[in-house]
């Protein structure tokens, strides 16, 4: 493992829950993506409206959602909105992504993680496995506790 004290590029994906080849080209902004008919990778900032991307989802292979600060939770809504609209490409959380946000991000539809600071693999593995069961229906398709109770 690299020195955890050194910052890694936001494009260095540390965790990925997909089998396809990662998109290998840079992302554009949401505005540029709407103007540019050939862009296949885009990066959402916290203030962007994820819904402006909905007409272009078919051609997008990668959407990065940036978390400049872990406490800004807008990216969780952006992720769910994209998945709810049927986006099936890679949804990557980048930026200030920390151990204790991983399980919630995963539930909101993120399937790739590129933290600014590389995370401890064991801590992360435990974090992804935090919840054996869940109370809320989200885009991750997991059966909820309430559904299990009434099978």
């Amino acid at each position: 493992m690299t020195n955890p004290d050194l910052g890694t590029s936001p494009d260095e994906v540390q965790f990925r829950f997909r089998d396809d080849e990662p998109a290998d080209h840079g992302t554009v902004t949401v505005d540029a993506c709407c103007d540019q008919t050939n862009a296949t990778a885009v990066r959402i900032e916290p203030g962007d409206d994820a819904r402006t991307l909905l007409p272009f989802l078919d051609r997008l292979a990668l959407i990065e959602v940036n978390f400049p600060a872990y406490g800004d939770g807008r990216g969780y809504s952006s992720a769910r909105i994209l998945r709810e609209a049927g986006y099936a490409g890679e949804l990557r959380a980048v930026g200030d992504v920390l151990i204790d946000q991983l399980s919630h991000m995963r539930r909101c539809g993120f399937d790739a993680f590129a933290p600014d600071q590389r995370l401890d693999e064991d801590d992360a593995a435990r974090a992804f496995a935090t919840w054996d069961n869940v109370y809320q229906r989200t885009v991750d398709g997991r059966k909820t506790i309430q559904e299990t109770r009434h099978e």
Partner: protein, 546 residues
């Protein structure tokens, strides 16, 4: 009352394990204090002036005697022998060591309790009517809906990093005993005429709150069908999570968003999101509500005496003051005042907490409630048991006959404990209750809600006090502003400041003066609040400043 199944237990156990792991990583230096802070906050752990404070969730203020006993034991084992009941129907310990926190959470988990989301920018513990399931005037018991919301809001993956904290209250009576419209979301369960007779649904009020910018929540939907309750809540939260302000923490509550957008525009956005979410299947199966409801079924009430022997005047006074009409005519709900004269509002010793637990087991079908006014309720007490109950309470210094009187004040911990406070609240509360008790004026004043906050964050609900006191710092000296005319009840209103502030002695005198104005001006049956509303601020100002 509700009890956990294996899944609920597993969720709480998972959280305890997660917190142990986080605390461990903090100690190892893998987490900075800045990174650890929101995590410990979401487990109810605050750093106060002198020590850590741990806030325990009491969902919709309902608990059983086993849980109450555990709270008393924790007070003795890990605190300095006290628990402090809060305006969020919770309990906090003010003297906790960080290294004990995970063990306390494990002790709580053994009795189906936790400290989850009692702090942090997430959906907090759901509050409700403290007389739920007992009050004569309720439409239905609101707690099954509160429980449905508890499950939905626990560890909600999208709403864990909201712009700011988020509080939800659920009531089901016209009388509001939960300050519903001063919450981020206030839900009133109502009935409307439907095709098959009466249909039950939820009325949504969004954007209320106290703090530095007090606001009364406007109604945004008069009827949400019960099988869309969670979906509608989710839509309200998503609009807030996406568009609530994050540039300034003092403008980040949903009340500011609703105010800046206007209730109409906020509602339009919620309705749009709601229409989208109806297709997402976020609503739990309808059977879940039906599973929850029987947990709140009536206990086996028995007919008995309908009246008490009033020959003991002290007992008769307590009955008049501290009991509330029950839906069964052989029962009442009994309020245990945690406001003894000169005491700290909301405090109880470990032993007192265990005594209340025992009495609940003996006299109230094993059930207790915490009131947002920092008192405890035994919801179902047989009228013929009242004297025995009162005798036991009185012996434990829990028999103060002062519910809803000036002595039953709400006070925040203030500068004695809180790192945010500008002024002390507790000594002021103590002195006022001593003064009014000694002069015998409490009785004459009748219902008078006094609420004291030690800073503008308004934890002591001063905006909603018939008389409110706000402690501020004026050039390094504690100074107290007086306000009049607030109400947290169904006639919700925000108190108005009388004028320049007072010293500690001065504000006590000022409270005395405004109560004198009331006693002189009141007409038959008027409470302080009614008189104030009729005659306005001017006569009070005159008495205070001329």
């Amino acid at each position: 009352m509700y009890s956990y199944d294996q899944y609920d237990q597993q969720m709480v156990d998972a959280r305890v394990a997660e917190f142990r792991d986080q605390a461990h990583r903090r100690l190892e230096g893998k987490l900075t204090e800045d990174q650890f802070k929101p995590l410990r906050l979401m487990n109810g752990l605050y750093l106060q002036l002198h020590a850590y404070m741990l806030r325990v969730a009491i969902p919709y203020g309902t608990l059983n005697s086993r849980q109450m006993t555990a709270l008393g034991d924790i007070a003795d084992k890990y605190d300095r022998g006290y628990g402090h009941f809060t305006t969020r129907q919770n309990l906090q310990y003010n003297w906790i060591k960080l290294e004990d926190a995970a063990d306390i959470l494990a002790d709580l988990a053994k009795v189906e309790m936790h400290a989850i989301q009692t702090s942090g920018n997430c959906i907090r513990n759901i509050s409700s009517d403290h007389f739920a399931g007992a009050a004569a005037d309720e439409l239905v018991d609101p707690r099954p809906y509160a429980e449905l919301l508890r499950q939905w809001s626990s560890f909600h993956p999208e709403f864990t990093y909201l712009p700011r904290k988020f509080k939800i209250a659920v009531i089901a009576a016209e009388k509001d005993r939960a300050a519903m419209r001063l919450h981020d979301i206030g839900i009133q369960i109502i009935e409307k005429d439907g095709e098959q007779g009466g249909e039950i649904g939820a009325r949504f009020y969004v954007g209320g709150g106290m703090g530095r910018t007090p606001m009364i929540a406007p109604m945004i939907r008069d009827f949400v069908p019960l099988d869309q309750l969670i979906t509608y809540s989710e839509a309200c939260l998503r609009v807030y999570n996406r568009y609530g302000r994050r540039d300034n923490k003092y403008k980040a509550r949903i009340k500011i968003l609703v105010h800046e957008l206007g209730a109409e525009e906020y509602t339009r956005q919620v309705e749009q999101e709601f229409a989208h979410m109806l297709d997402q299947g976020v609503e739990p199966p309808r059977e879940e509500l039906e599973r929850i409801k029987p947990f709140f079924d009536d206990p086996a009430f028995e007919d008995g005496a309908k009246h008490v022997d009033r020959s003991d005047p002290d007992f008769a006074l307590w009955v008049d003051r501290n009991t509330h009409r029950h839906k069964h005519d052989s029962y009442v709900s009994a309020v245990i005042s945690l406001k003894p004269v000169g005491g700290i509002p909301g405090d109880a010793t470990g032993e007192q907490i265990r005594i209340m637990a025992r009495l609940a087991k003996q006299y109230s079908f094993d059930e207790l409630r915490i009131m947002h006014t920092q008192n405890v309720v035994l919801p179902h007490v047989k009228i013929e048991d009242l004297h025995a109950l009162w005798t036991a309470l009185d012996a434990a210094d829990l028999g103060a006959p002062n519910m809803d009187s000036i002595e039953d004040m709400i006070a925040c911990p203030g500068l004695d404990y809180c790192a945010l406070a500008n002024a002390r609240s507790i000594p002021l509360a103590q002195r006022i209750s001593e003064k009014f008790d000694a002069s015998g004026k409490t009785e004459k004043l009748g219902e008078l809600k006094l609420k004291i906050s030690g800073c503008i964050n308004a934890c002591g609900h001063h905006h909603a006090g018939h008389i409110g006191i706000l402690g501020v710092d004026r050039k390094g000296v504690e100074n107290y502003q007086l306000s009049l005319g607030g109400s947290e009840a169904e006639d919700t209103s925000l108190a108005k400041i009388t004028g320049p502030g007072f010293t500690e002695d001065g504000v006590i005198e000022a409270v005395e003066k405004v109560t004198d104005v009331y006693l002189d001006a009141r007409e038959d049956g008027e409470r302080f609040l009614d008189t104030y509303r009729r005659i306005g601020m001017a006569p009070f100002k005159e008495a205070l400043y001329d």
